[in-house]
Symmetry: C2
Subunit: 144 residues, 2 copies
DNA sequence: GCATAAAATGCAATTGAGTTGCAATTGGCT
DNA sequence: AGCCAATTGCAACTCAATTGCATTTTATGC
C-alpha cells in the first residue's frame, strides 16, 4: 500500500484514486499549493469539483492546512506532523513564507508565531503570520 | 469642505462624489471593509467598477491599506496616520484582528508585528499578522 | 466472491469577486 | 465659459468556488 493510502486509512478516509493522487502530490511537493496548481500536477483528469471536495475533506481531517495567501486564492499545504506530534492536538501555529521572486509559499515549520499582547478585552484564538521576501534559493541566485 | 474632500485635496486626487462618499465611509467605520460591504453602505448608486477603481486609487495614494482576510476576499481599512506620521514613509506593519463572533476586522494600530528570525538564506520584506479571536465588545457580551 | 448502503464522483448550472476596453461624462484649470 | 485629462458607466469577460442531482465506487458483512 502506498504511503498516501496508508495515511488515508489511518484517518479512516476511503481510499479513492483522486485522494491518493492528490495526497501524493502534497507529500511530494514541499510548497503550499492552490487548486489550479494541483490540477496541473495531476496526471489523471478529475473533475474540478472532486478536487475541491477532496481538499475540503483533507482539511477537515487535518491532513492539510490552509496557508495564507495575499492574492486571495486559497492555498493548502501538507501537514508536517513531525514538528507538532508532541503537542497532541494538531496546530498550525508556524510562520509561512512567500517568495516574491519565485512566488512559492512554504511552511517554516520550525518557526512558531510569536505571542503578542493584545489590548485589554481582546481574547486571542488562532493567528496567521505570513512573511514576504526572498527564499533561500532566490536570494542565493540574486547574490551571484 | 468636508473632511474627506480635504483629505483628497491634500493627496492631489480629484474630488468626485464617488470618492468623497467612499472615503467618508472609511473614516466613519473603524473596521476593515470589503468591496461588497462598502457597496451596501453607499447611499448613492455607483457602478461596481467605479468602486473598484476608487479603492485602487486610494490604495496607491496611501489613503487605505490592504487588510489580510482568510476568506480570500480583499479588505481595506482607512490609514490611521496618527500612529505612523513620525516614521516618514507610511507603513502598515501593525497587527490586524478578526473577531470570530461579529466578523469584524480591525486594525490594532498600536501593536506592531514582532520581528522574527528566519532560517539561513531567507530575506525578509513585508509581513502580515492576523489574529483571530473575540474583540472587546464580543468578549464582554459573552462574560455577562 | 458478491450484494448492499453509504460515500465519493461527474456533470451542469450558478454565484460572486475582480478585470478590461471603450465611449460618455465631469473635474480642475486658465 | 471652455478645454483636456481624469473619471465614470456599461458590457462583456475571467477565474475561483459552490450546489443539486444522478451515477459510480468503496468498504464491509455475508
Amino acid at each position: 500500500m502506498s504511503n498516501a493510502a496508508e495515511v488515508l486509512k489511518n484517518k479512516k478516509l476511503r481510499i479513492t484514486p483522486a485522494r491518493v493522487h492528490v495526497l501524493d502530490i502534497f507529500i511530494r511537493e514541499a510548497a503550499a499549493l492552490t487548486h489550479a496548481e494541483i490540477e496541473k500536477l495531476l496526471i489523471d483528469d478529475f473533475d474540478r469539483v472532486t478536487l475541491y471536495r477532496t481538499l475540503t475533506s483533507f482539511l477537515e481531517n487535518g491532513l492539510i492546512h490552509k496557508v495564507p495567501d495575499e492574492s486571495g486564492i486559497q492555498r493548502f499545504a501538507y501537514c508536517n506532523h513531525e514538528h507538532h506530534e508532541h503537542s497532541g492536538a494538531h496546530s498550525h501555529t508556524h510562520v509561512h513564507f512567500f517568495c516574491m521572486q519565485c512566488s512559492k509559499t512554504t511552511c517554516l515549520d520550525d518557526i512558531l508565531i510569536p505571542a503578542i499582547k493584545l489590548p485589554e478585552g481582546f481574547v486571542q484564538d488562532e493567528s496567521v503570520f505570513l512573511v514576504k521576501g526572498l527564499c533561500r534559493k532566490c536570494s542565493k541566485n540574486k547574490a551571484e
